[in-house]
C-alpha cells in the first residue's frame, strides 16, 4: 500500500516532434468526432428546451463545449502513463476537495456538492471519478494474471467506496452510484472468476430483497412501484414518466419540428435542459433523431472499445474501460429512463445535457481515451 500512495517518478521524456505527428495520424478520432457531433445536437436541443425562459442557455452551453475541447487538448499533452503513475496524488487531492465541499460547498437541489466561484459552479465529484479510474487502472494493472484474487478485488472496492461514501454524504446519490458500474467493468475486464461472479449475483439478489422488505421507507417503495406501473399515479411521481413518454411517442418518425414540441414548449416536461433533454429531442426530431443520437453513442463506444483493444498495456485497457463505463452508464440509463424503462433519477445525458462540470468530465474522459491510442507505441 505504501508504494501505491507515492507516485513513482517516471515522467515521460520529450518525444520527437516528427514521431508525434506521425503517431497523431494513427489515432482513431472516432470518439472525438462522435462527441463533437453529439455536442452540436445538444446545443440545438438545449436552445429549444430553454426557448421560453428569460435567458437562453445556448450561449453558456456553447461556452462549456469550447472549454471541454480546450481541456481535451491540454490533457492530451500529458502521457497517460504518467497520469496513471500520478493517480495517488490526484486521488488524494480529490478526497480533500470532496471533504471541503461537504464543509464549504454550495447547496443546490438538496445536494451540497458544488463549489461556487462567482458565477461558475464546479462539482468535484465529477473529477474524482477520473482520479478513481486512474488509481484503479494503476492498481489493477500491477497484477499480471488472467484473474484477480479476492484481495485485489477487496482493495479495489475499498478505493472506490471511500469517494463514493463522501459523495453520498453530499446527498448526490446518482453521482455516487456511478462509481459502481465503473468498478464492475474494470474488475470484469481485469478478470473475475465465473464462480465468484455467480456468487456475487446471488448475494446481490438477496441484498435487494432484504432492502425492499426491511431497508426501504414507504415513499421509496412507492417510487419503485410508480416506476413499475406509472398509470396508477398519473399526478404524482408517475406524472414525469407519463409526460416524458407522451413527448417521446408523439415525435413519431420525423418529430414535430424544431421548437414545435408542445410537450417541451408548454412545459409539461420537467428538467427539459438536463435530465429530460432526450425527450425534447425525441419529440422534436422523432425516431430519426433518436437513432442518430443512439448511433453516435454506439460509434463512440465502438471506437473507444477498439482503442482499448489495441492498447499494449493493461493500464491503458483498464483506463479506457473505466471511463467508458461511466459514459455508457449515463447514456444508457438516461435514454432508458426517458422512454420509461428505468425509474426517474437525476442522471444527465453525456455531451448533450446542459451542465458545465459534467460536460468537462465527458471531454476529459474522451481526451484520456485518445491519449491511450496516441501513445500506444511508447515503449515503457
Amino acid at each position: 500500500m505504501r508504494s501505491l500512495l507515492l507516485p513513482r517518478s517516471r515522467l515521460s521524456s520529450l518525444e520527437g516532434e516528427q514521431t508525434a505527428l506521425r503517431r497523431l495520424g494513427n489515432v482513431n478520432v472516432g470518439p472525438l468526432a462522435a462527441a463533437f457531433l453529439l455536442s452540436l445536437i445538444g446545443l440545438a436541443t438545449v436552445a429549444s428546451a430553454s426557448a421560453e425562459q428569460a435567458e437562453s442557455l445556448l450561449a453558456r452551453q456553447a461556452l462549456w463545449v469550447l472549454v471541454g475541447l480546450a481541456a481535451l487538448a491540454v490533457a492530451l499533452l500529458f502521457d497517460y502513463h504518467w497520469l496513471v503513475e500520478a493517480a495517488p496524488m490526484f486521488y488524494g487531492l480529490g478526497l480533500v476537495a470532496l471533504v471541503l465541499v461537504l464543509v464549504l460547498g454550495h447547496e443546490a437541489g438538496g445536494a451540497r456538492s458544488w463549489f461556487a466561484f462567482g458565477p461558475v459552479r464546479v462539482q468535484p465529484s465529477e473529477f474524482h471519478k477520473i482520479a478513481t479510474v486512474l488509481l484503479l487502472a494503476r492498481y489493477l494493472s500491477r497484477h499480471d494474471r488472467p484473474f484477480l484474487g479476492l484481495r485485489q478485488i477487496a482493495v479495489a472496492a475499498v478505493l472506490t467506496v471511500v469517494p463514493m461514501g463522501l459523495i453520498a454524504l453530499e446527498r448526490d446519490l446518482g453521482g455516487a452510484a456511478m462509481f459502481l458500474p465503473m468498478l464492475a467493468a474494470m474488475l470484469l475486464v481485469a478478470g473475475v472468476r465465473l464462480r465468484l461472479l455467480v456468487a456475487a449475483s446471488l448475494l446481490g439478489l438477496v441484498l435487494a430483497f432484504g432492502l425492499w422488505s426491511f431497508g426501504m421507507k414507504d415513499y421509496q417503495r412507492q417510487r419503485v412501484r410508480t416506476f413499475l406501473a406509472p398509470e396508477e399515479d398519473p399526478l404524482g411521481a408517475g406524472y414525469q414518466v407519463r409526460q416524458s413518454k407522451i413527448a417521446v411517442g408523439s415525435g413519431q418518425w420525423t418529430g414535430r419540428g424544431y421548437g414545435q414540441g408542445t410537450q417541451s414548449q408548454l412545459r409539461f416536461l420537467p428538467e427539459r435542459q438536463t435530465d429530460f433533454v432526450m425527450a425534447v429531442l425525441a419529440e422534436e426530431w422523432g425516431f430519426l433523431g433518436v437513432i442518430t443520437v443512439l448511433g453516435l453513442f454506439a460509434w463512440f463506444i465502438s471506437t473507444a472499445a477498439r482503442i482499448a483493444m489495441r492498447s499494449r498495456d493493461r493500464a491503458g485497457i483498464l483506463l479506457v474501460v473505466g471511463l467508458l463505463a461511466v459514459v455508457v452508464t449515463h447514456a444508457v440509463y438516461n435514454t432508458a429512463m426517458v422512454v420509461g424503462l428505468l425509474p426517474i433519477t437525476g442522471i444527465p445525458l453525456p455531451f448533450i445535457s446542459y451542465g458545465g462540470s459534467f460536460m468537462l468530465f465527458n471531454y476529459l474522459a474522451a481526451s484520456l481515451v485518445l491519449n491511450v491510442d496516441y501513445r500506444r507505441y511508447v515503449n515503457r
Binding site: E52, H81, V84, S141, D144, R145, P146, A185, L188, V189, A190, G191, P234, L235, Y239, Q243, K245, I246, A247, V248, G249, S250, G251, Q252, W253, T262, Q263, Q265, L266, R267, F268, A282, E283, F287, V290, I291, L294, F297, A298, I301, S302, A305, A308, M309, R312, D313, R314, A315, I317, L318, V320, V321, V328, V332, T335, A336, V339, G340, L341, R380
Partner: protein, 594 residues
C-alpha cells in the same frame, strides 16, 4: 507496466462487454421504436389533447372603508376574451367568428392580435368587457372554437367616484416600466393602483395571486387538476376619511376649482380631502380611449390635478406665523401700535393695505382681526427674512407633510440661502415685505395650511394620516411660549366672532370657530381694483383656514378656491357649512370592519 502476458484475456473481455453494450443500445432503440412508431399515433393524440392551462387565481383586491366602516370601493366581475392561436385551425375563420359576435371589424381584431401577442403558446387578450350575451355566445361555440376562452376578471369600482377620485386614485394596466421594475409580482395585463390610496397602498391591497395548473383536452375540457397555489386576498384598509364631510366638501365646491382639507389636529386624521373639479376614476379601470384620455388631460380646468397638494401663495393666512415670529423675537409687544392710513412707503416703494381707507391705529390682535397689511409690512421689516423662514418651518411649511400620497409638493419657504442657490440673486429686503403678508415667492398647499393651522391650535405639528391603523406621528411641542400662542389664538377667534372680523361669515352660534382669511394675488395690483371687476382667470385665490372648538380643537378646515376672489366672502362660508356638518350631528359609532 510491460505489455502484459495476459493482455489477450483482457482484450477478449473488452470485446464481450462492448458487444453487451451494443445489445443494450439496440434494446433501447427498439423501445424508442415501440414508443414512437408502434404507439406513436396514440401518444401524438395524447400530446394534441394534452394542454396545460395555467389558470390564474386572482387575489381579490383589498377593500377600502371610511372611518365609520362605510365601503368605498368594490370589485365587480368583468369578462375578457382570450385567444390561444395554437388551438385555432384557421385563424381567419376564428377572427371572423369573434368579429361577428362582438360586432367589430375583422381588421380591428387582427390589429389587436398583433399588438397584444406574446409568445407562441401564450394567450392573447382580444376584447374586454364582454356583456353576458357575448359571453354566452363564446361558451356555446366552445366545441367549434376551442381557441377562445372567456376569463372572468375583476374591475375596481369606486362607489363614490365623483368625490373621492383624487384621494382614492384609480387602477390602470401595468406598463413596460412596471414589468421591468417589479417583475416578480406584476404580470402583463395586471391592473395596478395609480395615485391616491390605491397607488400608495398597492402592495397591501394587491394580495398574492395563486395559480391552478390544469390539463385540458383539445376542446378545453378539464382532464386533471394539478397542485394549486392558492391566492391570498389583499388586505383591507380603513381610512381616516369621514365620508359625510367629504361628500359635503364636494357639494360646496360644486362648479368651482379649489380644494378642501379637513384634519383632526390631534392625531392628524384626514377627515376630508377634496379637489375640484374631479374626474371619473372608474373610467381608468375600464380603459380609456385615446380620445377620452386627451380630453381629460387637456381639459383647461385640469381635473386630474390634486389641488389639495398644489401650492400657492398663502396670502394673509400666513400672518399667524408672522405674529408669532414677531412676538417670540421680541420685535413687538402685543400692544405695539402701527397707524394704517391705507398704505405705507418702504424701501422706496409704496405698499398698499387691502383696505384703501386705512385701519387707523392697530395693535397685534386688531391687525390680525382686520388682516391689516400695513401692520405686517412693518413686522416684516423689523424681523427680516431669516426669523420668518425659521418660524414658517416650525409650522411644517416648506417640506412635504408626509401624507401617504404621491406627488406632494414641498412648497417653498424662501430665504437668502434659497435665493442665492436657486435664483442666483441675492435676497432683497423688499421681498421680505411681500412675504410678510404671504405674497412673493412663498408657496403653501392647502394640506400644509391645514397642518400649520392644526399646529397653532394644539401646539404641535402632526403628520396627516390616511389610514386608521397607521401610527400617529406628532412632532415635538412647538418651542413657542404658551402666552404668545394664546394671544394669536384669541385673535383668530376674534377674526370669526368679532363683529368687524374678516372671517365673520364663518361664525356659528354655539361653536367657537377660530380662523384666518387669506387672498393670494394672481396679478400684482397697482390700484385698488375690485376683484369682481377683473376677468375670472385674473381674480385672486381665496383662502380660509379655521379650527373648532377654539378651546378644544377637534377639527381643522382649510378651504381654497381658485380665482374665487376674497377669502372672507367665498371661502369662509364653505368652512362654516363644513363645521356645521361635522359638529351638527352626533358622530356615529365606528362600525367594525370584518
Amino acid at each position: 507496466m510491460k505489455i502484459g502476458q495476459h493482455r489477450e484475456h483482457l482484450v477478449r473481455r473488452v470485446g464481450l462487454l462492448a458487444g453487451l453494450v451494443r445489445i443494450v443500445l439496440l434494446l433501447i432503440a427498439l423501445s424508442y421504436w415501440w414508443t414512437q412508431i408502434a404507439q406513436g399515433e396514440q401518444f401524438r393524440e395524447l400530446a394534441e389533447n394534452n394542454r396545460l392551462r395555467r389558470i390564474s387565481l386572482e387575489a381579490p383586491r383589498g377593500l377600502i372603508y371610511d372611518r365609520h366602516g362605510r365601503q368605498l370601493v368594490e370589485n365587480v366581475p368583468s369578462y375578457t376574451l382570450l385567444l390561444d392561436r395554437s388551438l385555432s385551425r384557421d385563424l381567419d375563420a376564428s377572427l371572423a367568428f369573434a368579429a361577428g359576435v362582438l360586432e367589430l371589424d375583422v381588421a380591428d381584431l387582427r390589429r389587436r392580435l398583433e399588438e397584444n401577442r406574446g409568445g407562441k403558446f401564450q394567450q392573447t387578450r382580444l376584447a374586454t368587457h364582454l356583456d353576458l350575451v357575448e359571453v354566452a355566445r363564446f361558451r356555446v361555440e366552445q366545441l367549434e372554437h376551442p381557441e377562445f376562452e372567456v376569463a372572468a376578471e375583476h374591475l375596481r369600482l369606486n362607489r363614490h367616484a365623483h368625490y373621492t377620485a383624487h384621494l382614492m386614485g384609480y387602477l390602470g394596466r401595468v406598463t413596460k416600466k412596471d414589468l421591468a421594475t417589479q417583475e416578480s409580482v406584476v404580470r402583463r395585463d395586471d391592473l395596478l393602483g395609480r395615485q391616491g390610496v390605491e397607488g400608495r397602498y398597492e402592495d397591501h391591497l394587491r394580495g398574492e395571486r395563486g395559480e391552478q395548473l390544469v390539463v385540458v383536452d383539445s376542446r378545453g375540457r378539464l382532464i386533471e387538476k394539478l397542485d394549486p397555489a392558492l391566492a391570498h386576498a389583499g388586505g383591507n384598509l380603513r381610512l381616516t376619511l369621514d365620508l359625510d364631510l367629504q361628500q359635503e366638501a364636494a357639494r360646496l365646491l360644486e362648479g368651482q376649482a379649489g380644494a378642501v382639507v379637513a384634519l383632526d389636529p390631534r392625531q392628524g386624521d384626514v377627515l376630508a380631502l377634496y379637489s375640484s373639479p374631479s374626474f371619473d376614476p372608474n373610467a381608468f379601470a375600464r380603459g380609456l380611449t385615446p380620445e377620452e384620455w386627451r380630453a381629460l388631460s387637456e381639459d383647461p380646468r385640469r381635473p386630474l390635478q390634486n389641488r389639495t397638494l398644489q401650492t400657492h401663495a398663502p396670502g394673509s393666512v400666513f400672518k399667524m406665523v408672522m405674529a408669532l415670529a414677531a412676538l417670540e423675537r421680541g420685535v413687538i409687544t402685543p400692544e405695539s401700535g402701527v397707524y394704517c392710513n391705507g398704505s405705507t412707503r418702504l424701501y422706496n416703494h409704496r405698499r398698499r393695505c387691502w383696505q384703501s381707507r386705512g385701519h387707523g391705529f392697530e395693535n397685534l390682535e386688531r391687525a390680525l382681526r382686520d388682516s391689516c397689511d400695513v401692520y405686517f409690512y412693518h413686522l416684516g421689516q423689523k424681523l427680516g427674512i431669516e426669523p420668518i423662514a425659521h418660524y414658517a418651518r416650525l409650522f411644517g411649511l416648506g417640506r412635504p407633510t408626509g401624507i401617504a400620497l404621491e406627488d406632494e409638493k414641498p412648497g417653498l419657504v424662501p430665504d437668502a440661502e434659497w435665493s442665492e442657490r436657486v435664483r442666483g440673486t441675492r435676497w432683497y429686503p423688499g421681498e421680505t415685505i411681500s412675504v410678510a403678508i404671504g405674497q412673493g415667492p412663498i408657496l403653501v398647499s392647502p394640506l400644509q395650511a391645514a397642518v400649520m393651522t392644526g399646529a397653532l391650535a394644539v401646539g404641535y405639528v402632526v403628520e396627516p394620516r390616511l389610514v386608521l391603523d397607521e401610527p400617529v406621528r406628532r412632532g415635538e411641542p412647538l418651542p413657542i411660549s404658551p402666552e404668545h400662542l394664546d394671544l394669536v389664538r384669541t385673535a383668530l377667534w376674534k377674526v370669526v366672532n368679532d363683529s368687524q372680523g374678516t372671517g365673520r361669515p364663518a361664525r356659528i352660534a354655539g361653536l367657537d370657530v377660530a380662523g384666518k382669511t387669506g387672498t393670494a394675488q394672481v396679478v400684482r395690483q397697482e390700484t385698488w381694483t375690485k376683484n369682481e371687476e377683473l376677468p375670472p382667470e385674473l381674480r385672486d385665490h381665496a383662502w380660509f383656514v379655521a379650527y373648532a372648538p377654539a378651546g378644544d380643537p377637534r377639527l381643522v378646515v382649510v378651504v381654497f378656491v381658485e380665482h374665487g376672489g376674497g377669502g372672507s366672502r367665498v371661502a369662509a362660508p364653505i368652512a362654516r357649512e363644513l363645521f356645521e356638518t361635522y359638529f351638527g350631528r352626533r358622530t356615529p359609532e365606528p362600525v367594525p370592519v370584518s
